[in-house]
C-alpha cells in the first residue's frame, strides 16, 4: 500500500518558507542575511525529524540567519543546479553564493556549531 501523505500522521507542515524553482534565485540573491536552505522531500524520514529543529533555530536566529526549505520533488531544477544527491542537504548562501554544505540530518547542538560562523 503506497503511503498517502494525507493520511500519514507523520505528514509534515512546516512554518518555514518554501522556495521553488520559480522563486529561489530572487529570494536568495535579494537576502541581506545569510540563508540556510533545507533541501528535503515528503518521503524522507530524516528530513521530517530535522524540520522541528530547523524551526527552533529559525526563531533563535531571527534577523541574523534566514532558514527556508526547497522540496526537491517539486523543484527539481534548483536541486539539480546545486547537485543535491542526498537529502536532507543543507546549504548556506551568503550574498547569493553557496558557502557551506551539510549533508544528512543532525542534532540541534551540532547544527548550531556548524552555523555559528554565519551569525
Amino acid at each position: 500500500m503506497p503511503a498517502d501523505p494525507r493520511r500519514d500522521p507523520a505528514a509534515m507542515e512546516s512554518t518555514l518558507t518554501a522556495l521553488t524553482d520559480a522563486t529561489f534565485e530572487e529570494e536568495i540573491n535579494g537576502s541581506d542575511e545569510p540563508v540556510l536552505v533545507d533541501f528535503w522531500a515528503e518521503w524522507c524520514g530524516p528530513c521530517k525529524l530535522l524540520n522541528p529543529i530547523l524551526e527552533d533555530l529559525a526563531s533563535e536566529y531571527d534577523g541574523r540567519l534566514r532558514i527556508v526549505k526547497v522540496d526537491v520533488d517539486e523543484s527539481p531544477d534548483v536541486a539539480r543546479r546545486y547537485e543535491i544527491m542526498s537529502i536532507p542537504t543543507l546549504v548556506v548562501f551568503q550574498e547569493g553564493v553557496a558557502k557551506k554544505r551539510l549533508i544528512g540530518a543532525k542534532g540541534k547542538g551540532q547544527l548550531a556549531q556548524e552555523l555559528a560562523e554565519f551569525l
Partner: protein
Amino acid sequence: MADPRDVLIIGSGPAGHTAALYTARANLHPLVLEGEPSSTSDQPGGQLMLTTDVENYPGFVDGVQGPELMTIFKEQAARFGAEYLTVKASKVDFSVQPFSVWADDDEYRARAVIVATGARSLMLGLESERRLLGYGLSTCATCDGFFHRGEKIAVVGGGDSAIEEAIFLTRFADKVTVVHRRDALRASKIMQDRAFANAKIEFRWNSVVDEILGDGKVSGVRLRDVSSGEQSDLGVSGVFVAIGHVPNTDVFRGQLDMDDNGYILTHAGSRTNIEGVFAAGDVQDHVYRQAVTAAGSGCMAAIDAERWLETQPRTPANW
C-alpha cells in the same frame, strides 16, 4: 537537577516505544531520550525510519510504512503520558543509585533505566566513503533513491536489508547490481524470490567492494572476486551499503557487560549486569532483529523494570 524519575528509557525504536507504553500504563511516568536526527538508523524511531513497506509487523494486513509505524508507536505511548526529549545520551553513570544519564549538558536521573538504543548500519570502512557520502554514496535508500532515476546503482550486501533496498531502488534505477561476498543470499525466502524475479536486479556473487570510484561524485565501484582475486570496475551513480549492523553501545562501555561485538548481554529476561538497568531490542539482539521481537523485548524490559522497582525501598536518596 530534577528529582529522579522511576524510569528513563534511552532510544525510541520499537523496543523503546513499547517500553514507554508499558511503563506509562504502569504509572511509572517514563522519560524517553529518543535520540537526535541523523541520516543513519541511530536516530529517533531507529532503523524503521529508513524503510518503506513493513509487511511482517502483525496487525497490518496491507503492510505499513516504517516511519508511519514509529509515529503510531510514539503517539500510543504518549497517550498514556510517556514524555519524549529529542536528545542523545552522551554519558551515563550506572555505578550509584539513582542512575544518571547526560545529554548535551543536562543530567537526567532515574531509579531504573531501559537501554534501547538499537543498532546502526555498518559501512565498508573505506577512505572513499567519507569523501563520497552524500554524493552518490548513501546511508538512506528511501531518502536518496530518487536522485538515481534512469541510472545504475550498486547495493552491497545479501541480507534482508540489502535485498529490500535493491527492490525499492528499482523504482528509480534502470539497473541495480547486488554485490555479495558469498554465493547465496541470507535474506528471507520471499525477498529472495522477489529479487530473483525482478528483471532490473543483477547479482555479482563472491564479490566485495575494494573502492568506491569517483571524483566529486560516485562514478562506479571497484569489485574484487573473492575466489579469483580478480578486480573489475562497475559503473554506477549510486552506492548503498547494507552489510550488517553494529550496536549503539559506545556510551555504555565499561559499565554494561557486552559481547565481543558490543551487544549488551542480558539474562533472566532483560536484566543487564547492573541491577535496575535493563536492555531491549537490537542493542542486545543480533539474532532476530525484527520490529516485532524488539517490541516484545521492550515489553519484557518494562515489566522487569516495574517488578524490580516494586522490590526497591524508596529512600530519601532515590525518591
